[in-house]
Amino acid sequence: MRYTHETMPQTILVSRRVIEETVSRLAAEIANDYQGKNLVAVGVLKGAFIFMADLVRQINMPLEINFITVSSYNDGTESSGTITVHQDITTDLKGKDVLVIEDIVDTGYTLCFLLEHLKVRGARNVRLCALADKPSRRTHNVAIDYLGFTVPDRFIVGYGLDYDNRFRYLPDMYALEEYDDNC
């Protein structure tokens, strides 16, 4: 099975307006909970880049920004294999409140590893903020502290999410059409 990628995706799953409202709601919740604390926001590249940029600008308090790149090498399934942190954060996390910002929670495998990785680095606490949750794919249990919305088990692109590095720049979120090679 492949996904069409020569043409633009057609089905809008989450519109720009809904995304904007969601980002505002999450930012308000976060600002409320972290007021007066040393907040370090850690965006997971590349998918969370746009979400991160939009979210932090609405969190009305001083915070520090970091990006991290994680990848898992495996045999096709996402719930096994070795995870490597490519570009780690340089900030000292000791005694700080860390908020991981992720685009979509899928199997939860990589995130489990990442949250643990940050805890080991001495963070006072580590929480997770995700724009979207795809619970149907979950293999590892992850608690999402701030969640945007839940999405069905479709291949989603746009607003930072990609298919083969395409479509990240689209301002809305789309579900890619599936088609069979035999058609």
Partner: protein, 473 residues
């Protein structure tokens, strides 16, 4: 698989094209050195000019060599591989132990094993050399020799053309009864001794240049500014010369009244020597440059939060949209790869890409920040995808000295993209050192320390939705 003959053919093709391009001599020679090293599969290369008066060789172009190699000073042609003076090609197969090598300890520290030197001829005379360096042992085939000889002819033509244009300049200037000119060939050679700086800030500036791997010479040349009968009554010696940028830099980290007198000297120098590119870097400029990399506070001033808003959210939004429209129009029918250097560009890149109406791929880089003496810039996150034959748009939050951008563009160009352009939200022209061309600019801003919309001061203020100016006490 390309044969070495094929590689040499395309190397010569590139070299002749470069020779015919109207770049400065330094740039032409740098580009040719790169072609030579790449075609031969060698680590580094340099093009050297022979001074007939004292038989010294001066580097006029190089590629892939460390500062140590470039700054070890002029080579005595009669001692270093003298057979090249006779028009022969010389090969050193184990540099650290070969007595024909003038600085074997440097060769060893740089792991250079093989050195091949080939003459640049004009008629029967040797006028310079091409030297290639390798970290592996290698022999010299007939084809290698043929390539080196031919590229030598290309260099010879390049040099001849440079001399011709210099001569034309001289004639023009004599006619205009300008003061006598020191010609580049009479430029004092770089010192063999380690440099001793007159001032601490000069040493710090040299460290910063080293970090960006920008070649420099300390006080290499004095400019007569006033004449008294036969003699020179006033001289001016700028602190640094940056050969790759073809620029002189004078640091003034002292009191205001001294700056005024220096300003006057710089103005005079510009009047008398219009083709000399000279920049004054003040104490404020310098402190800001260091502060930008989280190194030292912002001069003597204390930061007191954001003083005023320079561009509001709405102003930025409008400008980003108009830039996106221009980019979409200019690249219509194509797809582009947008590349940003983290983290400052996060807001701009994120907003810009969402307003582009043509297919976009995005990639991110991160580079290390200046950490003091002996540090060298490193790419800590490189591109995920190949950009060869792609149309690349480098997206920047702010360009001031241009040193970072200069470094990143050279890195990107080495991947041979189909095209490479730059889009920067902010342009602080006043502070420019490296001459980088910006194709799309959001706002030209005054010389103030700005934060917000991704830009930080020591890690703070990035998440402000507007661009503000720091308040300093």
């Amino acid at each position: 698989m390309t044969t070495s003959k094929g590689r040499y053919y395309s190397g010569l093709q590139q070299a002749t094209a470069i020779a015919n391009d109207s770049l400065s001599l330094r740039r032409t020679c740098n580009a040719i050195a790169k072609v030579i090293a790449k075609s031969m599969g060698m680590t580094g290369c340099r093009v050297l000019l022979l001074n007939p008066k004292n038989d010294f060789l001066t580097t006029i172009g190089s590629f892939g060599l460390s500062d140590l190699y470039l700054r070890k000073g002029p080579l005595a042609a009669t001692k270093s591989l003298p057979e090249v003076l006779e028009g022969q090609i010389a090969i050193v197969s184990h540099a650290p132990s070969d007595e024909r090598v003038q600085h074997p300890q440097i060769a060893e520290s740089q792991h250079v094993v093989t050195i091949i030197a080939s003459p640049i001829m004009r008629g029967q005379d040797v006028i310079g050399q091409v030297r290639v360096y390798s970290r592996q042992e290698r022999s010299l085939s007939d084809l290698d020799e043929e390539f080196l000889r031919t590229i030598g002819h290309v260099c010879s033509v390049v040099l001849e053309r440079a001399e011709l244009s210099q001569f034309k300049e001289r004639v023009k200037r004599t006619c205009a009864t300008a003061p006598k000119q020191i010609l580049p060939t009479e430029m004092p050679a770089a010192s063999l001794k380690p440099v001793e700086f007159a001032h601490e800030s000069e040493a710090e500036f040299a460290n910063l240049l080293d970090f960006y791997q920008i070649e420099w010479l300390y006080e290499p040349r004095s400019f007569p500014l006033a004449w008294n009968g036969e003699g020179v009554s006033q001289m001016f010696t700028p602190d640094f010369y940056l050969p790759e940028l073809d620029m002189y830099v004078e640091l003034t980290t002292m009191k205001q009244d001294l700056i005024t007198s220096k300003n006057r000297k710089v103005r005079k120098l510009r009047e008398l020597y219009p083709d000399i590119n000279v920049r004054l870097v003040t104490r404020k400029d310098f402190a800001r440059l260091l502060a930008k990399y989280g190194y030292g506070p912002l001069g003597d001033a204390k930061v007191e939060g954001v003083g005023r808003i320079l561009y509001s959210q709405t102003q930025i939004k409008r400008r980003v949209r108009s830039l996106a429209r221009r980019v979409s129009k200019d690249y219509a029918g194509q797809r582009i790869v947008m590349i940003g250097v983290l983290k400052g560009v996060m807001c701009f890149l994120s907003d810009l890409m969402q307003h582009i109406s043509i297919p976009v791929k995005v990639d991110y880089m991160d580079i290390s920040h200046y950490g003091g003496h002996g540090d060298i810039v490193k790419i800590t996150r490189d591109l995920d995808c190949s950009i060869t034959d792609e149309h690349v748009l480098m997206v920047e939050d702010i360009v001031d000295t241009g040193m970072t951008l200069n470094y990143v563009l050279a890195h990107l160009a080495s991947h041979r993209p189909a095209s490479l352009h730059v889009c920067s939200l902010l342009d602080r022209k006043e502070r420019r050192l490296a001459n980088v061309q910006l194709d799309y600019v959001g706002f030209e801003i005054p010389d103030e320390f700005v934060v917000g919309y991704g830009l930080d001061y020591q890690g703070e203020y990035r998440n402000l939705p507007f661009i503000g100016v720091l308040r300093q006490e």
